[in-house]
C-alpha cells in the first residue's frame, strides 16, 4: 500500500463508504442473523448510550466507532447470544465490542492493499451518553447510519491523514 497518497484522498478516490457499509451488513447477517440497511436521508443519528471503539494502526490509522441506544444494544446482544444470556450490561458491552471489532476487521480485509499492514486494538466500550471524546485522527471521517429493525445504529471511521 502506498503511504504517499493521503488516506483522505484515497478514501474518496476508492469510495470507501460503500465498503464500510458492506462490511457492516455482512457482520450483521453472518453473526447476528439479521439485516441492516443504510438509513434514509434525514434519519437522525442514534442516541449514543453505548459506544464501542476499535483503534487501527499502521497503513490505515484511526478509530472506528459503533454507537447505538441502550435498547438497540440489548437487542443486538440478544441476536448474538440469545435472550437467556444477553441480560447483563457486561454481556451487552462485550457483544457491542465484538461487533465493532468485526466491522473494523472486515472493512480492512476488504481493502486489499491495507489488510497486511494494519493492526486492530482490543475494543473499548463506553456506556452512557454524557461524554465527549476527541480523536487525534485529523483526516477523513466516514460515517453511516444503518437501520437495525426500527433503531438507527451509527458506524464512523475517523482516519488519520
Amino acid at each position: 500500500m502506498s503511504t504517499d497518497t493521503s488516506l483522505a484522498s484515497r478514501s474518496h478516490e476508492e469510495n470507501w463508504l460503500p465498503i464500510l457499509e458492506l462490511a457492516t451488513v455482512e457482520v450483521f447477517e453472518i453473526m447476528l442473523g439479521c439485516r441492516v440497511k443504510p438509513a434514509a436521508k434525514g434519519e437522525q443519528s442514534p442516541t449514543a448510550e453505548f459506544t464501542a471503539m476499535v483503534g487501527l494502526a499502521g497503513a490505515l490509522c484511526g478509530i472506528l466507532t459503533f454507537s447505538c441506544s441502550r435498547k438497540a444494544a440489548r437487542e443486538l446482544a440478544k441476536c448474538m447470544l440469545g435472550p437467556e444470556i444477553a441480560d447483563s450490561e457486561e454481556q451487552v458491552s462485550d457483544a457491542l465490542g465484538e461487533i465493532c471489532n468485526m466491522i473494523a476487521g472486515n472493512f480492512k480485509n476488504k481493502l486489499s492493499s491495507a489488510d497486511g499492514a494494519c493492526m486492530l486494538s482490543v475494543p473499548t466500550v463506553i456506556k452512557g451518553e454524557e461524554y465527549s471524546f476527541r480523536s487525534l485522527a485529523d483526516g477523513e471521517n466516514l460515517e453511516t447510519v444503518m437501520m437495525f429493525r426500527e433503531a438507527p445504529v451509527a458506524v464512523c471511521l475517523q482516519l488519520h491523514s
Binding site: 457482520v27 447470544l81 497486511g116 482490543v122
Partner: protein, 128 residues
C-alpha cells in the same frame, strides 16, 4: 464422531459463547468446553485439562494468539493437538505467521457454522 474436549481462547466471553455454539451447529459433539481469556490462561488451562482441539483468537491482551501458538509448539505434551485460529486479522501475513507457528487452520471473523465445519473437521481427521 466421538465427542471432543475443546479449548476456546478469546478475550471476549461473548465470542467464546458464539464459537461454542458454532461448533455445535457444525455438528461437532462436545464432551467439554474449556475457556480462556488469553494465551497465558490457555497455557495454564492446558496444563490442567486434556483437550482435543484449540480454537484461538489473535488479538488478546497479556499473550496474543500467535505467541500462544509459538509457546504451545514447544510443549511436548501438547504435540498433535490441533489449533485453529478464529480472528478478525485476515491478512495473508497473519495467516502465514499463524500456520508457520504451528496453527492447523485459520477462520476469519465474521464466520458461519459451515466455515467452522469446513476448517475444523479436517484437523480432527474427519471429512467436512
Amino acid at each position: 464422531m466421538n465427542k471432543i474436549r475443546a479449548l476456546i481462547v478469546d478475550d471476549s466471553s461473548v465470542m467464546r459463547k458464539i464459537v461454542e455454539r458454532s461448533l455445535r451447529q457444525a455438528g461437532i459433539e462436545l464432551e467439554k468446553v474449556v475457556e480462556a481469556g488469553n494465551g497465558a490462561e490457555a497455557l495454564v488451562a492446558m496444563g490442567k485439562e486434556p483437550v482435543d482441539l484449540v480454537l484461538c483468537d489473535i488479538n488478546m491482551p497479556v499473550m496474543d494468539g500467535l505467541e500462544f501458538v509459538k509457546q504451545l509448539s514447544t510443549v511436548e505434551a501438547a504435540k498433535g493437538i490441533p489449533v485453529v485460529m478464529i480472528t478478525t486479522e485476515g491478512s495473508e501475513n497473519h495467516v502465514v505467521q499463524a500456520l508457520s507457528a504451528g496453527a492447523r487452520g485459520y477462520i476469519r471473523k465474521p464466520f458461519t457454522p459451515d466455515q467452522v465445519k469446513e476448517h475444523v473437521l479436517p484437523v480432527l481427521g474427519k471429512k467436512s
